[in-house]
């Protein structure tokens, strides 16, 4: 049940959760999910989990940090944390984000304007723990006390804090209760950035303490650097899978396609999120078809990591981030392509086009752009014949935060949808003011313990509300509806969340990418590319 929560409770020495979220506390949803009693209940953490892991924050556990075995180990961990805290504010260790971090630490006026912008805070029923400034306030107090070595005067000015293992353990978990969508930063009158705070905390835990969510580190960036993709696909396997997709798409569409691999001097190196190849093969297949039909000279690369655009380091670790970004750029350099085009993956867009921009110098600075602009150009060029009547069903667009608010690619996807989807309708708000799907910053792939319950009930709730509102005039199952989400992580979140609430089974809300809609509207393709089957 929601209750008042003081910051001082963060260093409470017991392992009892600081808060407990109940369905009745949550932001109400529209029909057909408007009856609280019918909302799904949460799976409680098992006694084994609470005994083994640090679960003292709330009802869930995202990182699953093992409980220390002795007071000495706790002391060592706290010392490591404090040493990492220092490093976060040293240019040698953190030149990458030092300036914005300092500005955020020293100038927040704690006015709480950010709170109303945060979907997690709102959806949780304004639970104090999820207030965006709550996490930042803790780091701010730590900064003034332990980095600036403030004494009593500083505590009077900025608030006091006590560091112990329970605080550090809770802070680890709390850094994974933010989607890093930065909607809060967009509204801050000063320009302070709570999303950055969560990002920097995750970096501290990863880069100094070696602590991060296993799905994004061991099974994510490390696996990608080891075999080439976080899906586990080696270059041989990915080529096999793509060949199978080519065959399938050729059969379904009646147009022969062959994905080109490692073509030197191609105009475009297309990098997909490899998750698409595994989970939504029609997406890379549709890309191949569109590019082939449009006569684009393109290729994919079978170099290590270069056939998977994901870069999970973006969410938690600068070293891992730089390593993967360099691998992408090196593959493009090797093939002497004119540009890299990122497939439908939001975080890959931001990672390679925006954040990595200043890391890629000299001949690694190969132009990079969004596939959405390329698709818009292809569609508008008239090179492919389109029949909008084939897409005559309700369509709404989810804006991936990394593509809109964090990169400014807003209109190209809309130009396409307005042309090929007669029943296109916007969510409100949309574009740069969008809400995160709730799977951002790695949540969509984090499914340990009961974390999915939290991300569907809390972090995904605002988006769920938007989707239901966008389709409120046609919720009946007789009308198939298409939620266009041009981002793999967002699709992962929608797949899980729509299934959780049975919105495909009962209301026929399907999700998918943009390219599928384009191919579905192509006049030269056999009708029915979108199969209206749940994946």
């Amino acid at each position: 049940m929601k209750r008042e929560l003081n910051i001082e409770e963060m260093w409470r020495v017991d392992r009892e959760p600081l808060t407990h979220v109940e369905n009745a506390d949550l932001m109400p949803l529209p029909a057909p999910l408007d009856i609280v009693e019918k909302d799904r209940s949460w799976a409680p953490l098992s006694p084994q989990a609470t005994k083994k892991y640090e679960c003292g924050l709330d009802d869930t556990c995202a990182v699953s940090v093992r409980q220390p075995e002795s007071p000495e180990e706790e002391k060592r961990l706290v010392a490591t944390f404090l040493s990492g805290l220092d490093k976060l504010f040293m240019k040698e260790n953190n030149w990458t984000f030092l300036q914005p971090l300092l500005l955020t630490m020293e100038h927040c006026t704690r006015c709480q304007t950010c709170a109303d912008a945060c979907h997690v805070f709102e959806a949780s029923g304004r639970n104090e723990l999820y207030r965006p400034a709550f996490r930042s306030e803790i780091l701010r107090r730590l900064y003034f006390k332990y980095v600036k070595h403030g004494g009593l005067l500083s505590a009077w000015q900025h608030g006091d804090i006590q560091v112990n293992w329970p605080l550090v353990a809770r802070l680890i978990e709390l850094s994974y209760r933010c989607n890093l969508c930065r909607r809060c930063a967009q509204t801050c009158p000063i320009g302070a950035d709570n999303g950055l705070v969560a990002h920097e905390l995750r970096k501290l835990f990863s880069q100094e303490m070696g602590i991060s969510a296993k799905e994004i580190h061991e099974q994510g960036s490390m696996l990608q650097l080891k075999v080439g993709s976080s899906t586990g696909m080696s270059p041989e396997v990915v080529k096999d899978n793509i060949a199978f997709i080519d065959e399938d798409i050729s059969e379904r569409t009646g147009i022969e396609i062959h994905t080109p691999w490692d073509v030197e001097g191609a105009d475009v190196l297309l990098i997909h999120n490899a998750g698409e190849i595994m989970a939504w093969p029609e997406n890379p297949g549709a890309f191949a078809l569109i590019l082939t039909m449009a006569g684009v000279k393109w290729t994919m690369s079978s170099e290590l990591a270069a056939y998977d655009s994901i870069n999970y380091g973006l969410w938690y670790d600068d070293a891992q981030f730089a390593r993967v970004a360099l691998k992408h750029a090196e593959a493009a350099r090797k093939l002497k392509v004119k540009k890299i085009v990122i497939g439908e993956c939001g975080h890959a867009h931001k990672a390679l086009c925006v954040i990595a921009d200043r890391l890629l110098g000299g001949d690694l600075n190969i132009p990079r752009e969004s596939s959405l602009t390329l698709l818009r150009d292809v569609v508008m060029s008239g090179k492919i014949k389109l029949d909008a009547a084939r897409n005559d069903f309700p369509v709404t667009l989810h804006d991936p935060c990394n593509v809109v608010r964090l990169m400014g690619v807003v209109e190209p996807q809309r130009e396409v949808l307005r042309l090929i989807c007669p029943q296109f309708r916007e969510m409100e708000p949309h574009g740069v003011n969008n809400y995160c799907c709730g799977g951002g910053s790695g949540f969509a792939i984090m499914s340990g313990l009961n974390f999915p319950d939290w991300r569907f009930h809390v972090s995904g709730r605002k988006k769920l509300q938007q989707v239901l509102q966008a389709f409120s005039d046609c919720l009946e199952p007789e009308t198939p509806k298409y939620l266009c989400a041009p981002c793999s992580n967002c699709k992962g979140q929608f797949r899980d969340m729509l299934a959780y609430y049975k919105l495909w089974d009962q209301n026929r809300i399907l999700y998918g990418g943009l390219v599928e809609l384009i191919v579905n509207a192509m006049a030269d393709v056999k009708p029915g590319f979108i199969e209206w089957e749940w994946r």
């Binding site: 008042e4 670790d317 390593r323």
Partner: protein, 311 residues
């Protein structure tokens, strides 16, 4: 008394200046960070600003000339600086108090500038004070002065009320936040009371300003005004030591972070600066980072811990 007031004013402004310059240097000298902009970026092309688009919306954007849209940037900056537009949009409840307070401070600055202008013009132009210009400026600093007093006090009181009564701010209000607002209220009250209750023959505002500018100690500063001025000087000196120096931070958070969409060009300044940062030697302790304190960022970024583990 007069000397003490003058010294207070000199010291107050000096410390304020040093504090502000120190902060500016601290932020300006920080390394160029990785891109972290937030859209909308108002200096984008006018057609894109409305929907928050960027140059990434154009295919082959690197081949196209870029035009810095000054008009767009000013259209975002001026309402933000003068009227706190962001707060109006996103936190209307706070805007009323905050706008009163900040506009009161702007009026304070305007009044001070007009007083100083009056002193300078009086010295430079014979008969200025009783001429049309002098009377207009005198009217100006009186109006802005009264407005400053009323608006700042009303704003500070409203902000104090909110800090003390709003349950949502409980976790986020330190004793210093209360102190800062009380400090403003006290200072403006004493200055206002001192001005209204000044004895006959006491130095006028322009006389005091003239005295401060020329260190002429003949002016008889009334005790309450003198005390108010010393208090105001302490307040001015105190501002850069606190988060109230956000007028400095805001320049950087907007221009160097939120709106900094400069692309890294081959052979450009950013590339040169980052090449230098890549020679830094970090000492992060986690094993996968592989930082020994001897390896550079460039060496760390080109290493592959996953492949090394396999060996």
């Amino acid at each position: 008394m007069t000397v003490a007031v003058y010294v207070g004013i000199y010291l107050g402004f000096l410390i304020f200046l040093i504090g502000c310059v120190r902060r500016v240097i601290q932020y300006a000298r920080a390394p160029i960070h990785l891109r972290w902009e937030l859209y909308p970026v108002p200096h984008e092309e006018p057609g894109r600003v409305a929907h928050g688009g960027s140059y990434f919306e154009s295919s082959d954007w690197w081949t196209q000339p870029r035009h810095f849209n000054w008009r767009g940037e000013l259209r975002a900056m001026i309402p933000e600086i003068l009227f706190l537009k962001g707060l109006w949009e996103f936190n209307r409840g706070l805007w009323y108090a905050s706008f009163l307070f900040h506009f009161g401070l702007y009026c304070t600055i305007a009044s001070m500038v007009l007083v100083v202008g009056q002193v300078i013009m009086s010295a430079a132009v014979a008969g200025w004070t009783n001429g049309l210009g002098g009377l207009a400026v005198a009217g100006g600093y009186r109006v802005t002065g009264y407005a400053a007093l009323l608006l700042t006090l009303a704003g500070a009181l409203a902000l104090l009320w909110r800090r003390m009564r709003d349950a949502e701010l409980k976790n986020f209000t330190s004793p210093a936040d209360i102190f800062n607002l009380v400090f403003f209220i006290l200072t403006y009250c004493i200055l206002g009371a001192g001005y209204c209750l000044r004895p006959e023959g006491a130095a006028s505002v322009t006389s005091i300003a003239r005295g401060v500018l020329t260190f002429d100690i003949k002016a008889e500063v009334a005790p309450m005004i003198g005390f108010g001025l010393v208090l105001a000087s302490v307040l001015i000196a105190y501002i850069p030591l606190t988060h109230m120096a956000h007028f400095i931070a805001k320049y950087f958070t907007y221009h160097a972070v939120r709106w900094d969409d400069r692309a890294n060009l081959r052979g450009g300044k950013i590339e040169t600066a980052v090449a230098g940062y890549l020679r830094y030697k970090p000492n992060w302790a986690a094993k996968h980072v592989g930082a020994t304190g001897e390896k550079t960022w460039a060496e760390i970024a080109t290493a592959n811990p996953a492949r090394e583990v396999r060996k």
